[in-house]
Subunit: 267 residues, 6 copies
Amino acid sequence: MERMERHRFETEPYYLPVGDEVAQFEAAYAARLPTMLKGPTGCGKTRFIEHMAWRLGRPLVTVACNEDMSAGDLVGRWLLDAGGTVWQDGPLTLAARTGAICYLDEIVEARQDTVVAIHPLTDARRMLPLEKRNEVLRAHEDFQLVISWNPGYQSLMKDLKTSTRQRFVAIDFHYPPPEREAEIVAHEGGVEAEVARRLVAVGAKSRNLKGHGLEEGASTRMLVYAASLIARGIPAHQACRMALVQPLTEDEAMAAALSDLVDTFFD
Amino acid sequence: MERMERHRFETEPYYLPVGDEVAQFEAAYAARLPTMLKGPTGCGKTRFIEHMAWRLGRPLVTVACNEDMSAGDLVGRWLLDAGGTVWQDGPLTLAARTGAICYLDEIVEARQDTVVAIHPLTDARRMLPLEKRNEVLRAHEDFQLVISWNPGYQSLMKDLKTSTRQRFVAIDFHYPPPEREAEIVAHEGGVEAEVARRLVAVGAKSRNLKGHGLEEGASTRMLVYAASLIARGIPAHQACRMALVQPLTEDEAMAAALSDLVDTFFD
Amino acid sequence: MERMERHRFETEPYYLPVGDEVAQFEAAYAARLPTMLKGPTGCGKTRFIEHMAWRLGRPLVTVACNEDMSAGDLVGRWLLDAGGTVWQDGPLTLAARTGAICYLDEIVEARQDTVVAIHPLTDARRMLPLEKRNEVLRAHEDFQLVISWNPGYQSLMKDLKTSTRQRFVAIDFHYPPPEREAEIVAHEGGVEAEVARRLVAVGAKSRNLKGHGLEEGASTRMLVYAASLIARGIPAHQACRMALVQPLTEDEAMAAALSDLVDTFFD
Amino acid sequence: MERMERHRFETEPYYLPVGDEVAQFEAAYAARLPTMLKGPTGCGKTRFIEHMAWRLGRPLVTVACNEDMSAGDLVGRWLLDAGGTVWQDGPLTLAARTGAICYLDEIVEARQDTVVAIHPLTDARRMLPLEKRNEVLRAHEDFQLVISWNPGYQSLMKDLKTSTRQRFVAIDFHYPPPEREAEIVAHEGGVEAEVARRLVAVGAKSRNLKGHGLEEGASTRMLVYAASLIARGIPAHQACRMALVQPLTEDEAMAAALSDLVDTFFD
Amino acid sequence: MERMERHRFETEPYYLPVGDEVAQFEAAYAARLPTMLKGPTGCGKTRFIEHMAWRLGRPLVTVACNEDMSAGDLVGRWLLDAGGTVWQDGPLTLAARTGAICYLDEIVEARQDTVVAIHPLTDARRMLPLEKRNEVLRAHEDFQLVISWNPGYQSLMKDLKTSTRQRFVAIDFHYPPPEREAEIVAHEGGVEAEVARRLVAVGAKSRNLKGHGLEEGASTRMLVYAASLIARGIPAHQACRMALVQPLTEDEAMAAALSDLVDTFFD
Amino acid sequence: MERMERHRFETEPYYLPVGDEVAQFEAAYAARLPTMLKGPTGCGKTRFIEHMAWRLGRPLVTVACNEDMSAGDLVGRWLLDAGGTVWQDGPLTLAARTGAICYLDEIVEARQDTVVAIHPLTDARRMLPLEKRNEVLRAHEDFQLVISWNPGYQSLMKDLKTSTRQRFVAIDFHYPPPEREAEIVAHEGGVEAEVARRLVAVGAKSRNLKGHGLEEGASTRMLVYAASLIARGIPAHQACRMALVQPLTEDEAMAAALSDLVDTFFD
């Protein structure tokens, strides 16, 4: 299917494995089990699924979930054309029909009813009822459904229902260990190893503050941002303030504490 | 009706009866009584109705209910075509018109007003008023309405109204007894009998924790997932963590307890 | 009007009068008074109005009310056709225009604003303003408006406004007395008189539990369901469990009590 | 304007004046002041405005307000036609353009924003901005805006804003004095004077119970309903139960008290 | 632009200045500053802006704000025409394009997001992004944005955001001093000076009751209404009851107090 | 791309740098990092991004965020044309496709789900999935995403999610130091240096009242407004009342205090 070519990766997306996640995913894909990637913001889940899609030679259809997304956005809809109405597959249907991996990013952002719409694809028969077409689509044998979930953001209103969670096997993600993370920061941010190591040390300290005044610590991505600014001539202190301190907190005392933390490593 | 062929089962869907449920359903179908399948997530209700549709030689129209589903989605709507508007039957109307079994899965997920729309089909005259067409459809003599309900998920907002429940006869479902469940896990997960027996033992223990920190125990489907991963080379501990522990809880103490439980059976 | 033929009854719908309700309705219809049928779920209100429509020789237009139903669904709307837009009467307008009885079933399920839309038809001039057409329809002289209401379901959010209730005369409905009810159960369920009498006795006991742990007792319809299952070979205990116990309660103690009650009559 | 003919009264609508309301309305109309008819349900406000429209020789456009009514429903909208879109005046615009009296019945039922849409017509310049047409309509010199309001139904959510009330002069309505009311009941219900007098006496007693267990007493309309049933052969007790007792209360004690009250007058 | 002619005033709208408001507005217009008219209901803000538009020779586009008004209603939308879709400017766009004064009346009634849509027109560059057209409209050099606000109606839900208020300069309005107000009442209500003086005295007393049982006192407009009724033969007491007492309060004690107040001046 | 020309600045927008913000932004743009401008209302964030777009020679697409803005408004939609439907890029897509800077002003006003729609553009691959087109747009290499945020307005309902904030580097904005601010006020308001200095002094004092009865102090823009009125002949006291006092507070005591403050500088 020509239209799927743009969903393929021509070059290998950069990903440094941390544990057994590659083998785990390969087994889950081999059994075509619906799979959930669990872990905090910015720890590399999106990069991982891109890497795996490339590795398995499958196209990847990514959907950023949000509350405004209806089941129709996922599944498809009728469009008005010159000669009447024509059906247009949504991204989920497209992936199921052509055998792509469909990645629903930040699934808890979607409305629960939209989430329920994916249940039939996780049943043994792997069907997707296109009710508006009176069609029952049986998923392509290469199709797999993957979702991401950050259990750190818990709220009364937005949680993954038990009846949904039970339909997926889960792979755990964490921030990479220091040496790996420094390697990533140096590679992606364009700084020397020593600068990367210091940034990673700042990041690790900030993660210890989670639950002690910070909602979340610095992600790997934020460390890469700081590195990118340093690589373009912004002094390290200022770069850390722009990329690490200000995005993490509005509390002045906490911001001062984080700035002091930065000073410890970049004097 | 040619378009109904895709709703028929060519081969027998695998189902191992647990009690008298097959005879009960056959009597309910013979009297064309609206029927409710009650029981927990993943215990085999969907597989059962597929099996019964095959057994009775009826097409099966399955609808996964959700809050976004309007009465119009169930009943049908006018579509704009080159020559004006054309009517398209919804899945409920299609089933009522052609004599299929219509299965509304997870009925409590639907809005109460959508649920009310099925009432006329449960009356003695078995009619479906298509108000937007000013048509009154009398259901085909082979039509039957079946719903599923998991009473374990009770909430203030979402419950089945008494005036709806009274319109259905109910068939109870539970997880299968251990030997049957092991047979299913071995058959569907592709593992040896001994591995299946141990997984079933883990599942039974987890179900005792329901209401003691777990919202729900491991379903038969989750045990099949764990078996599938083991069959593809993932060590049993890791497979159980991926398929049983992580999908059931975010609580670290409970996750540790469940992991210890797994150790008892896979040392 | 040809299109109304499908709203007529060719054969007499079976109905056993309980009191003066037939005479009361005939007087209300003679004066064309808006009429409300009050009573619990499944006691025969729908069957009664069908019977009366047949008796009075009027077509019957039935609308199952729900929250999703807009005033436009009742009154009518513009549809897009090949040659522009064409007006389509809704069921209320159709009934008012052609002189049918319009039966709004479960009126409290409708949104209050939709309920208000019927007020002009209950005024002395019996008009229906079709605002979207700039037409004022005067109702056909044979038209009558009938609603049903189950005051047992009371809630803060859904109640019939005083200004609406005052526009209707009311006819009370209750479950039929034992002998009549047994006659109905035997006739409709296909069982012998003795079995019907025992089922009716179970039903009467269950109604005494209303307000003592049960939201509602067994309706006549539920007794007919139990009879139908017995007539198709399901043992009486199991049939009562499927048709009476499980649809009435999720509480285990209450379910046990009801099962014991059944044992008293079917030993 | 031909299309307005259906909004004219050919014969005099029956109305018995109670006080100075006719002169008050004539002065308000002479000054074209926006006017509010205040009073309880069923006391004759709608009949009064019909009578006045006939008396003043103006067409009357009546709109039953409800929450679902948008400003577009009142003002007008674009419709899709064979040759593109055509504008269709809403009832308010139609009345303002052709010089009719526009009567917005039960104004508090409308959304506040819809209510605000009538403000420009109550300003000195009496304009109606048709924003969707970029037209500013100056009202016909014979146009008048009239609303009805029942201040007895007060709620936190639905009240007439001060900034709206200040734009209207008010005429008070009450139930008619006993002799007048009996005259109306006899005339409209078709019963003899003595029966009418007794019904009116029951009605007066019931109004004393307002605030003592009844939300509202019996309206003149309800007395006419009871008379109509008596005139068609229903015994007086039963007719009062159908038309007065049951529509007023669901409380058994209160219903018994009302029935006793009826007995006092119809023994 | 021909279509703007209907937005021009041919004759001078009657307005009696109270203070420096004319000079203040002229300076604000000269600098094209966004301007807010602040003051109670019915004190003459609308008349003032009509007068100023006439005085400055600018067309005036008035928009009565309401909750139902979307940004699209203000800015414009695509309409379906015979040959496809055509763009139609909304009133704000029309005013900005042609150099009119755009007056948003009762701005707090609009949804906050609609209010935000006017921000870019209050920036230094005075642009209006027409996102649905991908056009950026620079406002005509004669364009000015004016809003009205009655700070007396304060509620938690509806308040003008600080970030919006800061974008406007404000001109204060109050009811006119007694002699001026009497002059207006006599001129517009068609009564003699003495009657007007007494009505104004009643109005002034009623305004002292604001916050002591009345939400708002009688506005100048209400006094003009009372005068109009008196001029058409309604006795002064009755006219005051219709135009001043009843529109101001539903409380019986307060209504009696206001009636006594009227007696003091019209004995 | 011709259609982007209107998004380019022909002349340099006036901006006086306060600190290192120009260098910081240049580094962030060089690395194409998503960037957030943080600071209070009216301190010059919008002027800064216009200046930077001019300085970097990029077109600027500005979007004023609001609650009514759907993901479709940002991304694009299908329009009905004579020959069927045609796709129209939204402002975000337009910017990403043509290499403009896209500035989302007051991002917290947007719905969270709309905010989530920008996440894929902040990932390493800088893609924008156009789900309704089944297209995956890779952003032009010159594209940058910039948002503004005023953390001073904090509310429970509207806050920037951590998972969004972490995707941006931040540049802090404050009101300019007194000499710079006076220079701006004189330049933009058209008053002499001494008047500008006094206005700036009033502004500085008012900002000290923030949190002590004022939600926000006077912005630079408000000082420019006051200057503009003075330049057009309004006395300084009155101009300050119109431009500074009334827009800041409804509290009479606070308004008096602010007026006294003005007196201190303009006696």
